[in-house]
């Protein structure tokens, strides 16, 4: 599956305000993380399923996720960050963010950092973690040459819309679909 064509979304990673400390440790994902990242990625895709029948998850989504993550981790244009918990959840991956730098052949800035997935386990939501993830992934994308950061998620996902709108994002392109 081509990362740049897949419809993606974001779970509720909304954070009301910057907390004093963020209860996670963020680091680049590594190939040994793939088995724990796959179920998190699938949770996000199953959430997307709730928004539109055209986002129905494939039967082989788990294998696809595995291959995709493996490709992302080997691709210098991709960013995959793993969020580890703290305290009793230390060393447990509780969320991740996946993004890629794409070229914009017609527009400036010429490179766009696209956030494809952000997922956090529920207990880590609403604690400024999403905000922190967004900041860190934006920095990483900028480091790879992106001059603009965008996010893809289902049009009906109002939680994601609000999350990004609050942080200065606005809709610039829309993808409309119908079955064939």
């Amino acid at each position: 599956m081509n990362a740049s064509n897949e419809p993606n979304a974001h779970a509720s990673a909304s954070a009301p305000a910057e907390g004093p400390s963020v209860p996670i440790h963020l680091r680049p994902a590594r190939p040994p993380d793939i088995p724990v990242l796959v179920p998190l990625l699938l949770r996000l895709k199953r959430l997307n399923e709730e928004f539109d029948p055209l986002l129905k998850v494939r039967d082989d989504a788990a294998e696809q996720a595995q291959q995709l993550l493996r490709a992302n981790l080997a691709d210098p244009k991709s960013v995959v960050l793993a969020a580890e918990g703290v305290g009793p959840d230390k060393d447990k991956v509780v969320g991740f963010v996946r993004a890629v730098v794409r070229e914009r052949p017609f527009y400036v800035p010429e490179h766009e950092g696209v956030i494809l997935d952000i997922y956090l386990l529920p207990l880590y939501r609403r604690r400024s973690v999403g905000e922190y993830l967004l900041r860190e992934v934006s920095a990483a994308l900028k480091g790879k040459g992106a001059g603009v950061v965008t996010a893809e998620f289902p049009a009906q996902n109002e939680i994601a819309s609000r999350f990004y709108a609050k942080r200065g994002f606005r809709p610039i392109t829309a993808i409309h679909a119908r079955s064939l």
């Binding site: 779970a11 509720s12 199953r46 959430l47 939680i159």
Partner: protein, 477 residues
């Protein structure tokens, strides 16, 4: 039903005997329900409705209508226009509530629609009047969305001192209640959430007392995550129950923050989602059996289905556990089966067993209290005050494993509950009418007593005709 009761019982002759008795009880109850249903249809055809409006002012001649109606009444309207709160003292608003439903979850009948729900709402109105002295109007409404429901209730609110929401499906009932409570300046109550939860909490407080437990160190399992149990969980936490020592279980097993459907809940049922995140510390997962291991309390309010709770479940709980099996008409486990599996205290939703957890213990008194205080709202603190007073009421008569809660035959408790509700409304600053405890109590006794006197007087005067014998189909003139 009978077959699965057999499966719930322990083995051996004793087990078979108990199973037989449970089976017989189930059959008896089914027969009884059939007979009551037939009779209810017969009487409904005879009386054609259960309540009617009756004047409460003298009408000596038609000339009096110049006072009760135009032109005199215009001055009353002017007075209310300049001070809207006077609608509580110059009209019947202070004692009138609406029973509003969309008919989406009526009794065990499901989504039967507003028309079919009317007999149930009339019955509720009769209970409100008879037990609480409250004038309640049944108002089933035909609506197609929660927003339309909310807008409709908001539109009719000026006529009422309170709103009782009834028989609305979960989870939409949560959003409807929350939004109406936010918008309206009168108490809004949903009995399936608050009434059931308050009665459950009252019974549980006494059960904990009897078994020398305290709410802050108890481990409680709630089976069923619908309207009643989600609110019960919230109330228990408000009472000091450690949320981590609460575990909810539904058809999909233990409700926890990493369950597969938790993101779906976030979108479709945020109330349940919040409870999933808050409860079940230590991250138990699995089925009811895993939840119950070592638990002190089981509060089962699930879809009626026998054999939901088995003796082995009860045996796996902490010694001397408390079991509330509240599904109606068939409890999740029969009381004798639960007791022989070691339950120290058992309560059900049925009147033919001891310890009936019954909404009717709560809602008439709660409304009596908030109406007498002309309250602007009905926060959880008021609900808890009612639950505590109900628990005290039972304790005053002597607390035993068979007397956890007052029965409907102990009506002296209800004015006390109403007074506790009124007091709390005053204390919270939401009462338009401040009264002392004794004044609330006096008034509640008078109002509650008056209704049954009125019904008796009307019956004596044959204005309410006597019940026809079964099988007769004579209609009243």
């Amino acid at each position: 039903m009978a077959d699965s009761s057999v499966a719930t019982a322990p083995g051996g002759r004793e087990g078979r005997r108990r199973a037989k008795s449970a089976e017989a009880a189930a059959e008896r109850s089914e027969d009884q329900t059939d007979a009551l249903g037939r009779r209810s249809v017969e009487l409904s055809a005879f009386y054609q409705g259960k309540i009617e409006t009756v004047p409460k002012v003298p009408v000596r001649s038609l000339a009096d209508f110049a006072l009760w109606y135009t032109p005199g009444v215009a001055e009353v309207s002017r007075a209310i226009r300049s001070d809207p709160d006077r609608s509580f003292s110059l009209t019947g608003r202070w004692n009138t509530i609406a029973i509003v439903t969309d008919g989406s979850r009526v009794l065990g009948l499901g989504d039967i629609g507003p028309r079919a729900s009317l007999p149930v709402m009339e019955g509720k109105a009769l209970l409100f009047k008879f037990l609480g002295g409250v004038d309640a109007l049944p108002i089933p409404i035909q609506v197609s969305s929660p927003d339309q429901f909310i807008a409709t209730v908001e539109a009719i609110a000026p006529a009422f001192g309170g709103i009782n929401l009834e028989d609305i499906a979960s989870p939409k009932c949560f959003g409807i209640l929350e939004e109406l409570q936010r918008r309206l300046e009168i108490p809004v109550w949903h009995d399936d959430q608050l009434g059931t939860a308050a009665a459950t909490v009252a019974g549980l407080l006494n059960a904990l007392e009897l078994t020398h437990r305290s709410v802050d160190s108890t481990r409680t399992v709630l089976l069923g995550a619908g309207a009643a149990n989600l609110v019960t969980a919230r109330l228990l936490i408000a009472l000091g129950h450690d949320p981590h020592r609460l575990t909810l279980v539904d058809q999909k097993g233990i409700l926890h923050a990493e369950r597969d459907d938790v993101d779906e809940l976030m979108l479709r049922n945020p109330w349940k989602y919040r409870v999933a995140l808050q409860t079940n510390g230590g991250g138990r997962s699995g089925d009811l059996a895993s939840a119950l291991a070592g638990a002190d309390v089981l509060l089962a309010a699930s879809t009626p289905q026998p054999d939901t709770v088995r003796p082995a479940h009860v045996r796996a709980m902490a010694p001397g556990p408390i079991v509330f099996a509240l599904a109606n008409p068939v409890p999740e486990i029969w009381p004798d089966v639960a007791r022989s599996a070691g339950a120290a205290i058992v309560a059900t939703g049925r009147s033919d067993f001891p310890n009936q957890v019954n909404n009717s213990l709560v809602f008439p008194a709660v409304f009596r209290g908030v109406l007498d205080a002309r309250a602007r709202a009905i926060p959880d603190a008021v609900v808890l005050a009612a639950a505590r007073e109900l628990a005290h009421g039972a304790a005053r008569k002597g607390l035993t494993a068979h007397h956890l809660l007052p029965t409907m035959e102990e009506p002296e408790v209800f004015p006390e509950v109403a007074a506790a509700v009124g007091d709390t409304a005053v204390r919270l600053g939401i009462a338009r009418q401040k009264r002392s405890h004794d004044e609330f109590l006096e008034r509640a006794r008078a109002m509650m007593g008056r209704s049954s006197r009125v019904v008796r007087a009307l019956a004596r005067a044959r204005i309410i005709p006597p019940m026809p014998r079964a099988g007769r189909r004579r209609r009243p003139r």
